[in-house]
Symmetry: C2
């Protein structure tokens, strides 16, 4: 089946595809606000109708929250599952929007045309890139190049409470050869990316107790142990002078980066100066001898997310506090086991405190890193397809944060996921004036047409 004809069809149909996206964008499917529950239903119905129209076996599935949309269509190739979400973020503060967030418009900007609306980039525009690619295949060839399933969630922006139960209950139906997730971005405007490494997370809340009550720092200062000072000393000791984390055994299950991946990252010419400069910094602060991309993608971290003790209001109080608290999280990579590390962290942190302290730990989350099996030929096929569409070659990249859905595909269904998306850093997702570049939409549709073609070979 000819890919070129499909790409030509996509180009010709772009105005109509854009209008279809705008229809979907007009539905204010804000999932977190119960006032918009009916709109979430409407968005799900719109998708079911559109997919059914194309020949998918599409249905709306009830959950305790907003419905899922599931659709299947047969095809000759492997079974490909595509995930996206039709719900959007709230729009407040509304007065910071330059237009009605649910009245989408194509705007000219110095960087080209954009589709301006809530959800344009996150995630309705991205979701529709795949739908439109399917439509073009169907229009040109009457069939799809692979067996395709679609899985659209309506609660991604409100914590996905129904997602895991739904995936477990429908595991057989949802299991495929490979999963595609379109909720990420380009590496930069010329360079597409496939996220294959996601850092895990281990969170701990720590309470150090010194004196049994707050003391007067004049009466007791110098003699009584100060838990704020003890906490500061222990936190300071969590990194050595090279920026390495000192928890015993911490690096045991941290792999060195595959040289092929390292080469790809090198080729990305990541501008760390600009990345840091945008947030008022200039000096990479991670492990000595690591590149900036390693620091955020492939190396584990230990961060203080919160810290408090004693008097924090206006003015001054000469209190010697009874307690000091911290929220600390580790980003995990490779095979690091969050549960094992929680135990070694607790034992080590306790050993860093004065004997006279009491310490309590509260767990907050423990998820291992996600590492896709890029030896599966599907990954190289997709990477080649993306490289054909965009000016620069696609790269396997990491993602410093966690994207839970990727882990669920792996852990619940045993399916590797490719995270491919066409968003840009300036899309203002979760903020006023969200937009999606018309180029992201257009080349996104073409990218999926190419990926489906490649996967079917």
């Amino acid at each position: 089946m000819s890919l070129d004809a499909v790409l030509a069809q996509i180009d010709a149909d772009l105005p109509a595809a854009t209008e279809r996206l705008c229809e979907l964008l007009r539905i204010p499917s804000i999932s977190t606000d119960p006032a918009f529950a009916g709109d979430c239903e409407t968005a799900a119905d719109w998708l079911v109708a559109d997919l059914a129209d194309m020949g998918f076996d599409a249905s709306k599935r009830r959950t305790p929250g907003h419905p899922m949309v599931i659709a299947h269509a047969d095809g000759p190739g492997p079974h490909v599952m595509f995930y996206g979400h039709y719900d959007v973020q709230p729009v407040d503060p509304l007065d910071l929007w330059d237009r009605d967030p649910f009245d989408p418009a194509i705007e000219e900007t110095p960087n080209g045309k954009v589709i301006r609306a809530r959800g344009a980039s996150d995630d309705k525009g991205q979701l529709m890139t795949f739908v439109e690619a399917c439509r073009a295949w169907k229009a040109v060839h009457g069939t799809l190049p692979a067996r395709i399933s679609l899985f659209f969630e309506g609660e991604e922006e409100s914590g996905s409470p129904s997602l895991v139960p739904f995936m477990k209950e429908n595991a057989e139906e949802l299991t495929s050869d490979i999963a595609l997730i379109c909720d990420t971005g380009l590496f930069e405007s010329r360079t597409p990316a496939i996220v294959t490494m996601l850092r895990g997370l281990l969170g701990e809340e720590i309470t150090v107790t010194g004196p049994s009550k707050d003391l007067h720092s004049g009466m007791y200062g110098g003699l009584a142990m100060n838990p704020a000072r003890a906490l500061a000393r222990a936190i300071a000791a969590l990194h050595d002078d090279q920026g390495r984390i000192t928890v015993p055994g911490f690096y045991d299950d941290v792999p060195e980066l595959d040289p092929a991946i390292a080469d790809q990252w090198q080729a990305l010419n990541f501008d760390a100066g600009r990345f840091l400069g945008d947030v008022g910094l200039s000096i990479p602060a991670g492990e000595a001898g690591r590149t900036p991309l390693e620091m955020i993608w492939s190396r584990p971290t230990c961060e203080v997310n919160g810290m408090w003790s004693g008097y924090t209001g206006d003015g001054f109080k000469t209190v010697l506090p009874s307690q000091a608290h911290a929220k600390i999280s580790f980003r995990l990579v490779g095979q690091q086991d969050p549960h094992k590390l929680r135990e070694s962290f607790r034992a080590y942190f306790t050993s860093l405190l004065p004997e006279d302290c009491k310490v309590e730990f509260r767990p907050h989350g423990a998820s291992p890193a996600g590492q896709m099996s890029i030896t599966d030929p599907a990954f190289e096929k997709a990477r080649g397809a993306l490289s054909d569409e965009w000016p620069d070659a696609a790269a396997y990249v990491g993602c410093g944060g966690s994207i839970p859905i990727a882990g669920y595909f792996k852990n619940i269904l045993g399916v590797d996921a490719m995270l491919i998306g066409f968003g840009k850093d300036d899309d203002q997702i979760h903020s006023p004036n969200e937009k999606y570049d018309l180029e992201s939409f257009h080349k996104g549709i073409r990218s999926w047409a190419r990926v489906l073609d490649a996967l079917s070979r």
Copy 2:
């Protein structure tokens, strides 16, 4: 003039003296609450009348707040100024009191009789010990053994806003050979004390800024500098492994303890185990090689009074904070100059932070240590007099906190002050069920009679 007759008069007059104290205690002179302004006036009037009755030239002096009471009486000896305060703390929470705080009563307790009422110990009972000593001298001899002035403040529990201006405006009238301040306690129930060393205070509020806004710790963690971690490292570096403060030049003006004072402190057999045990601790946490009393009285300290950064609410937020804050104070001793140390602290703390940080400092208070000239023979005279009254010898002690009035006598009037008081640790000042031991009151009066006798020789 015979001291013995005065002491006998004090013993005989104790019931009447106690009733006079109870009269004063019935006046709810809470200075911080405007609803009790009239009661503050009444207490001042009561004191003026009582002193005038005894032959003092007594008057109430207007201030922008509550009035001062000033009284003078001639005598043959040196000019002695006595300071106390007639205002009291608020009484809430009232439901924790076992009786009306302003309906004083003599209660039997396992440790002897106590006078139970708000202000019994802080400071009406203490103030009246001196007044009753004067009354007994007058009753027995018709005159006083020295030229005596009394200075009673009505705003000590509400920040003393009128005190410094009043002392400056009336400097000539208030200047004496020595000042006596009765607002402190016994070292322990058998051992009286004269406070001759008061630590100074230097407060600093620090704001460390890393990124220009809060960041996602997944996206930036490992690459972007975390100001909470930077702050913790700098705080940790403020002490070395021996508990010494590392600010350059910090110990330049810290004197070694006079061997005679060290001997007195040794003889006090301070029970650091119990002192710390009462607040849930067991190990002295100060400088290695220093005794516990040195740690709280004669050595400088650096304490974290407050510290905060990032997310401090319930649950967890994977934020890499933009800012981290601390409130840090130093207790100063000897000739340490707070202004000089502020500058060296700021330079040093800045040097402990990563290059990529911004840091701002806000000053909070700067007062030097107070060190009385105990070579003045008045001190040894008073110490001997106290030792004659109590089972154990009196000691020159330090005070970890600051007592501003002592500094004002020194700095505004050039007068050394002896801080002598008879309160006990369990007097529950500033708390419900405040009391003053009847023994403190009785032996307190006798102590002042002896001190006046000694000073007049």
